[in-house]
Amino acid sequence: MQVRGLRKTYTMGTNKVHALAGVDLDVRPGELIAIMGASGSGKSTMMNIIGCLDYPTEGSYTLDGIRADTLSKNELADIRNQKIGFVFQGFNLLPRTTALENVELPLLYDRSPGKKKTKELAKEALSMVGLGDRVDHVPSELSGGQQQRVAIARALVTKPAIVLADEPTGNLDSKTSVEVMDLFQTLNDKGITVLLVTHEHDVAEYAKRIIELKDGKIIRDQVQEQRRAADVAATMPTDGVLA
C-alpha cells in the first residue's frame, strides 16, 4: 500500500479546512501499524481514504497495485469488498442476525466469478477468532469482546489485503482490549496486514510501527523493535500466586 502527497480539504462556509496536508506513507505486507493522533489530527479522514470510503482531494493512493483514487464509486465498493476488512469501534454488526450470517455478509456482496462456499468460509473465519462454538448466537447474546471478534472474523472472511481497525478497543474494558489486541497480533503473525487507528498509547504499543498525525501531517514514524506482548495473564489479578 502506497500513499503519496495525500491531501483532503473540506470547505466549511468560506473556510477551507485541511484535514490532510500532504501525507506520504508506505505499508508493506505483514505490517502491524498504529496511527495515532488527537481528535482533529486527520486520522479519521486518512482512515476513510485508505478504506476507500472517500476520495482524496489531491495525491495518489495505491492498494495492492490498484490506483484507488481514480476508481468509480462502484469499483471502490468492490475494492472494499475484496481488499479491505473493516473493524469498527462500535462493532457494527447487524442486529437479530447470527454471528455466522454477519460474517457471511461480505461474501454475499462478492461479485468476483466462481461460486464460493460462503457458509464454510464464514465458519472458518469464526474459528480463527476463537468463536467456532458461537456461530448461531445473535449479537445481543454475545459480550462486547465476542462481538468485536465476530466483527474481526467478518473483516477477515474475504481474505483482504489489509485490515483497517478504527479504535477497535474504544468500547471495551481493559481486559477485553488486551484480548482483542492479542488477537490482532496473532493474526499479524500469520501474515495479515493490520492498520489500526487509536488515540491510546497503550494500544498503539502493541503495534510494530507507530505513526503519529498532527494537523494533517505525519510528525512521527517510528518502528518498534520490541512490540509489547499482549500478555493476557499479566492483566489478571495476581492474587498472590506469583508471590
Partner: protein, 405 residues
C-alpha cells in the same frame, strides 16, 4: 451481487423484522382485500341481473309500439297504438328467420277464485309464448292452437295468481271468473321470480289471445309482439326482416319513420349490465383509492425504515455493497412485502366476500381476473412507492451512515 444473494438478503431482512413487515403490509392487505370484496359485490350484482334477463327468454325479439307524431309534435312511445294482430299474422306468414311468434294482448282486471280474488294482468298470447319466454308449465298443460282458433275459455296462471286464488289447492281443472266469464284453469306456470325492475313475473294469467280479445276485453290491445329465432346468430338478420315486414304491414311510406320499436335480448342485457358496470367501476375506484393509500403507507414506513436502518446501510456499504445493491435490496423488500400483502389481501377479500354474501344475502362473485389485477397492481405499488425510499438508501454516504446514531 448475485440475484439469488440479493433475494436472500432482502428475505432475511423481512423475516427478521416481523413487526415492521406486518405494519408495512397492512395497508396493502386492506387495500387489496377491499378491492376484492367491492368488485365481488359488483360482479355478483351484475351476474344476477344478467341471469334475470336470461330468464325473460332465449333469442327473444320484442316489438313494441313506437312513438307517433302529429304535426311534428312527438307524443312519446306508445302514444298511438299501432300494433295489430294482423302484424303478428303477417310476420308468421312471411318471415324466414323467426321460429316462434306470439302477440301479447294485455288487459288488467279482477280475477275471482274459490279462495279469494286478485287484480292481475291477463296476457292474451299464442301457443309459441312458452317457447319464446323459455317458460314451461309446472303442472297441467299449455293451450293448443285449436284452443286459440276456437276461442276456448281456458287459462294458464302464474305461481303468484295460483297462490292468491287457490292457496294450497291444485288449480288445474278448476274454474275462475274473469269479468263474469268462467275460465277453466288448465295449467300453472313454473315460478320465474322478479324482473330486474322488481315486477313479479308470476303475477299473470295467460289465455289465448283470441279469447282475451273477444270475450274478456272490448278491444284488441296488442301491447307487444314477441318472437324468437332458433339460434342467436339469426337475431340481427331477423331484426332487419321484421322491420321490413312491419313497415309493409303498417303501410309506411319511405319517408315515414318507424312507428314501432324492435328490441332484442342482447340490447336489454347490455342496458341492464351497463348500470351494474358503472356500479362495479365506482366500487373498484373506491377500493383502488384505498390501495393507493396503502401504497403511500408502504412508502412512509420504508422511508422511516431507511432512516432507522442508516447504520445498517453504512455497514453494508463499508463491506462492499454497491449503491445498486442497496437499492435493489430495498426495492425487493418493498415488492415482496406488497405481493405478500396482496396475497393475504386476496385471501381476506375472498373470505370477506363470502361472509358479506352470507350475512347480507347478496350474491358475490370473485373472479380470477380481479385477483390477478389486484396482485399485479400491488406489485406495481411496491415498485412505485418503494423506489423513492430505496434510492434514498442507495445514495447515502457510507461515512456519514456509519457515524449515524
Amino acid at each position: 451481487m448475485r440475484a439469488s444473494n440479493l433475494i436472500k438478503v432482502a428475505g432475511k431482512s423481512i423475516v427478521k423484522n416481523k413487526m415492521r413487515t406486518l405494519l408495512t403490509m397492512l395497508g396493502i392487505i386492506i387495500g387489496v382485500g377491499a378491492v376484492i370484496v367491492m368488485v365481488a359485490v359488483g360482479d355478483g350484482a351484475k351476474s344476477q341481473i344478467e341471469r334475470q334477463i336470461q330468464n325473460l327468454g332465449t333469442n327473444m325479439l320484442v316489438i313494441t309500439p313506437g312513438s307517433s307524431s302529429a304535426g311534428g309534435v312527438s307524443r312519446g312511445a306508445g302514444s298511438f297504438n299501432r300494433l295489430k294482430l294482423e302484424d303478428a299474422e303477417k310476420l308468421r306468414n312471411e318471415s324466414m328467420y323467426l321460429s316462434a311468434i306470439s302477440p301479447v294482448v294485455t288487459t288488467f282486471t279482477q280475477a275471482v277464485g274459490p279462495q279469494g280474488n286478485w287484480r292481475t294482468r291477463i296476457n292474451g298470447v299464442d301457443v309459441d309464448y312458452p317457447l319464446i319466454r323459455d317458460w314451461p308449465v309446472s303442472s297441467g298443460s299449455f293451450f293448443t292452437a285449436a284452443d286459440v282458433r276456437q276461442r276456448k275459455k281456458v287459462a294458464i296462471i302464474g305461481a303468484t295468481v295460483a297462490e292468491e286464488l287457490f292457496e294450497d289447492d291444485d288449480p288445474v281443472g278448476q274454474t275462475i271468473r274473469v269479468r263474469n266469464v268462467p275460465i277453466q284453469i288448465i295449467g300453472v306456470l313454473a315460478a320465474k321470480g322478479q324482473t330486474a325492475e322488481g315486477t313479479d313475473q308470476d303475477d299473470v294469467i295467460l289465455a289465448p289471445h283470441t279469447t282475451v280479445g273477444t270475450r274478456l276485453s272490448r278491444w284488441n290491445f296488442v301491447s307487444q309482439i314477441l318472437a324468437s329465432t332458433s339460434s342467436p346468430g339469426d337475431i340481427p338478420a331477423a331484426q332487419e326482416e321484421m322491420k321490413v315486414i312491419m313497415r309493409e304491414s303498417h303501410g309506411l311510406a319511405a319517408w315515414e319513420a318507424d312507428d314501432f320499436e324492435i328490441k332484442n335480448q342482447a340490447e336489454l342485457t347490455e342496458a341492464a349490465a351497463g348500470t351494474t358496470e358503472v356500479m362495479t367501476l365506482l366500487l373498484a375506484a373506491i377500493a383502488g383509492i384505498s390501495l393507493l393509500v396503502g401504497g403511500i403507507g408502504i412508502m412512509n414506513i420504508m422511508l422511516v425504515s431507511v432512516t432507522e436502518r442508516t447504520r445498517e446501510i453504512g455497514i453494508r456499504m463499508a463491506i462492499g455493497a454497491r449503491g445498486t445493491d442497496v437499492l435493489t435490496q430495498f426495492l425487493i423488500e418493498s415488492i415482496v412485502m406488497s405481493i405478500l400483502g396482496g396475497a393475504v389481501g386476496v385471501g381476506l377479500g375472498f373470505a370477506g366476500a363470502q361472509i358479506l354474501g352470507n350475512v347480507m344475502g347478496w350474491q358475490t362473485l370473485v373472479n380470477t381476473d380481479t385477483v390477478m389485477v389486484a396482485i399485479v397492481f400491488s406489485a406495481a405499488v411496491g415498485i412505485f412507492f418503494g423506489f423513492y425510499p430505496a434510492r434514498k438508501a442507495a445514495s447515502l454516504n457510507p461515512i456519514e451512515a456509519l457515524r449515524y446514531e
